[in-house]
């Protein structure tokens, strides 16, 4: 019976219910999408770096696991030293440059041969490998997003590049240029940001790392096998705080809308509350009825929010193919719990208010 009362009450004011449901939906979608976008981008980046196929990565001291934040403080001659180590099969120096001139990109400056030795080479979907200093390779997602075709000119870092080939995605970056060209353009002559290394056998990875440590004291020497686990929000300064802030913001929206909605409901139904009291409804019954309405709205809102998340992701990915939004069951459940908790909290005060109403005053309310 109380369920019928709850459902009928919620449906009695469709506009208010729709607004509340949308607010909860936005709350849920915000949480899912913000977390999905950050974790999606991190995971996709990690997969691409793992996709290079290297066993070890050498970075300067205190360098971030997020390669885009790396500068170019290492002499390129380190590569020669690394090649001398036992069990090292290939070394690829890479210079990284962040660019926001034509979308947000991390450009890899590579020596095609050494990069091929480490990674096994690109899979060309169109065109061919870089031959001249102004050649650029793009992965298929970037080419689609930037609407670029082979042999066209692509302006990057105030420089006109010739698109030599379009490669399959998943080899570190989306844009690749000649190492020397990028060194010139970024004023980092004979410098590299990171060295990717391939050992003669993956089983020797630890042995190589152990050999490297005394030679490069303080340097960041990381096995790429576990790279995915390192790419988390907690390893990026401020990202966790950003995510938490956005979640708090989203919850606040849901909380305030539910609070306002239930408050107006209580005011509007003052007489009904008096009626319920006159027929013997306890305070607990009245609280349950109002919290039930909030839960009902939240449950529909959660469903709407999940649908909105998938819909928004589809729209985003069709407009920005290089984006990655990871929607996980874990965060769907978390966002649902967060929305439900916010909704219950928002309805608590109006419900408490209703339960304490004076029955006689409530019955004479117009």
């Amino acid at each position: 019976m109380i369920r019928q009362l709850i459902v009928n009450n919620v449906l009695h004011r469709p506009i208010r219910t729709i607004v509340s449901v949308i607010a909860v939906g936005v709350e849920v979608a915000l949480v899912i999408l913000i977390v999905g976008l950050t974790s999606g981008l991190l995971q996709e980046t990690a997969k691409r770096i793992e996709g290079i196929g290297a066993d070890i990565m050498l970075q300067p001291p205190s360098a971030s696991v997020y390669l885009a934040f790396s500068g170019a403080p290492m002499p390129i001659k380190i590569a020669d030293k690394l090649r001398e180590l036992k069990y090292v099969q290939a070394v690829a120096p890479v210079l990284l440059q962040f660019s926001s001139s034509n979308g947000v990109d991390v450009i890899y400056g590579i020596d095609p041969k050494s990069f091929r030795d480490v990674s096994g080479g690109f899979v060309f979907l169109e065109g061919h490998d870089m031959q001249g200093p102004d050649d650029i390779l793009m992965d298929d997602w970037a080419a689609k997003a930037k609407n670029v075709s082979v042999n066209s000119t692509f302006r990057l870092l105030d420089h006109d590049f010739h698109v030599a080939g379009i490669v399959e995605h998943g080899k570190g970056a989306r844009l690749f240029v000649q190492l020397s060209t990028l060194q010139d353009l970024s004023g980092s002559r004979d410098k590299a940001s990171v060295f990717f290394m391939k050992s003669t056998d993956p089983n020797y990875t630890q042995a190589v790392m152990d050999e490297m440590k005394p030679i490069f004291p303080g340097y960041e020497i990381r096995p790429l096998k576990d790279f995915l686990s390192l790419m988390t929000a907690t390893n990026l300064p401020g990202l966790n705080a950003f995510i938490k802030s956005m979640i708090v913001l989203a919850v606040s929206i849901g909380f305030l809308v539910i609070l306002l909605s239930m408050y107006t409901t209580v005011i509007e139904r003052t007489r009904d509350i008096g009626v319920l009291k006159s027929i013997g409804a306890s305070k607990g019954y009245i609280i349950r009825a109002l919290l039930g309405e909030s839960v009902f709205i939240c449950v529909i809102g959660i469903g709407v929010g999940i649908a909105m998340s998938y819909g928004t992701r589809a729209v985003f990915l069709s407009s920005f193919p290089t984006l990655s939004i990871l929607i996980t069951p874990d965060w769907i459940v978390r966002s649902a719990v967060i929305a439900l908790a916010g909704g219950l909290l928002g309805a608590s005060y109006p419900a408490w208010l209703a339960s304490r109403k004076d029955a006689i005053e409530a019955l004479s309310y117009d």
Binding site: I2, L276, S278, I279, G280
Partner: protein, 248 residues
């Protein structure tokens, strides 16, 4: 199929047995109710002494502001007495907490209001059944069927209050009031919002409930014609009962 309606002795029989020391179902002793308007105390009831026997249909009459509704609210446990005692079926409301009075209301009292006070989002069936639900015994379909048939509501159960006439709404309110077989029905101007025809229907039904089922009823009214349906009329003035004689 068993019908869960308590058949009580007819009111006439009770009236004749009043002298045989039948325990009253409602007793008030020096009952006071004070309201506060700022720092000023406004007495609505000034020492009411009043008894209702089981099976009686008592009308309480009096001018506006004489304390009729206050008396009804205190009898029904909706308001706490300021002084004095109120006993309903042996329970002293003046010493009971709000929660205890709520429980008493749920178990032993049925209210009928002037403005019907049905829940607008529920249909007639829901408005009656919710009282059963709150009472806690679940939906008793046999009793529900009997009551709705008795009040001529069988064909209107799927209609919401906004789709029913005033008379129909009041009949639903009566059904809600008696669905849990209360010890007493407290009716506050039940015909105040009805035309003559519907007033007669509602009063006849209350009278029928009293006569056929022995339902105890206390009705507030300022309409002498309505009071004629009752077995006893009590007059109030300035917060006190000034007389109490059996109706003609």
């Amino acid at each position: 199929m068993p019908i869960a309606i308590t058949i009580r002795p007819p009111a006439d029989a009770l009236l004749t047995t009043r002298d045989l020391r039948v325990e009253p179902i409602v007793v008030t002793e020096d009952l006071w109710k004070l309201y506060h308007a700022g720092k000023v105390e406004v007495p609505a009831l000034r020492g009411v002494n009043f008894k209702v026997l089981p099976g009686e249909f008592v009308s309480v009459m009096g001018p506006s502001g004489c304390g009729k509704s206050s008396l009804l609210y205190v009898l029904g446990g909706l308001a706490q007495a300021s002084r004095g005692r109120v006993l309903v079926d042996g329970n002293d409301l003046s010493t009971m907490s709000d929660a205890e009075r709520t429980k008493l209301r749920r178990d032993k009292i049925g209210f009928v209001f002037q403005r019907f006070n049905l829940l607008p989002t529920l249909d007639a069936r829901g408005n009656i059944a919710i009282a059963q639900h709150i009472h806690g015994d679940g939906f008793n379909s046999a009793r529900f069927g009997t009551i709705t048939k008795l009040l001529g509501l069988t064909e209107r159960l799927k209609h919401r209050p906004s789709e029913m006439s005033g008379g129909e709404q009041q009949r639903v309110a009566i059904a809600r009031a008696i669905i849990n077989d209360p010890k007493i029905i407290l009716a506050d101007e039940p015909t105040g919002n009805l035309d003559t025809q519907n007033s007669e229907i509602v009063l006849s039904m209350l009278s029928q409930l009293n006569k056929d089922l022995g339902q105890t009823i206390v009705m507030i009214t300022h309409n002498p014609e309505a009071a004629e349906y009752s077995t006893r009329v009590v007059h109030m003035r300035d917060g006190v009962i000034v007389d109490g004689v059996p109706a003609a």
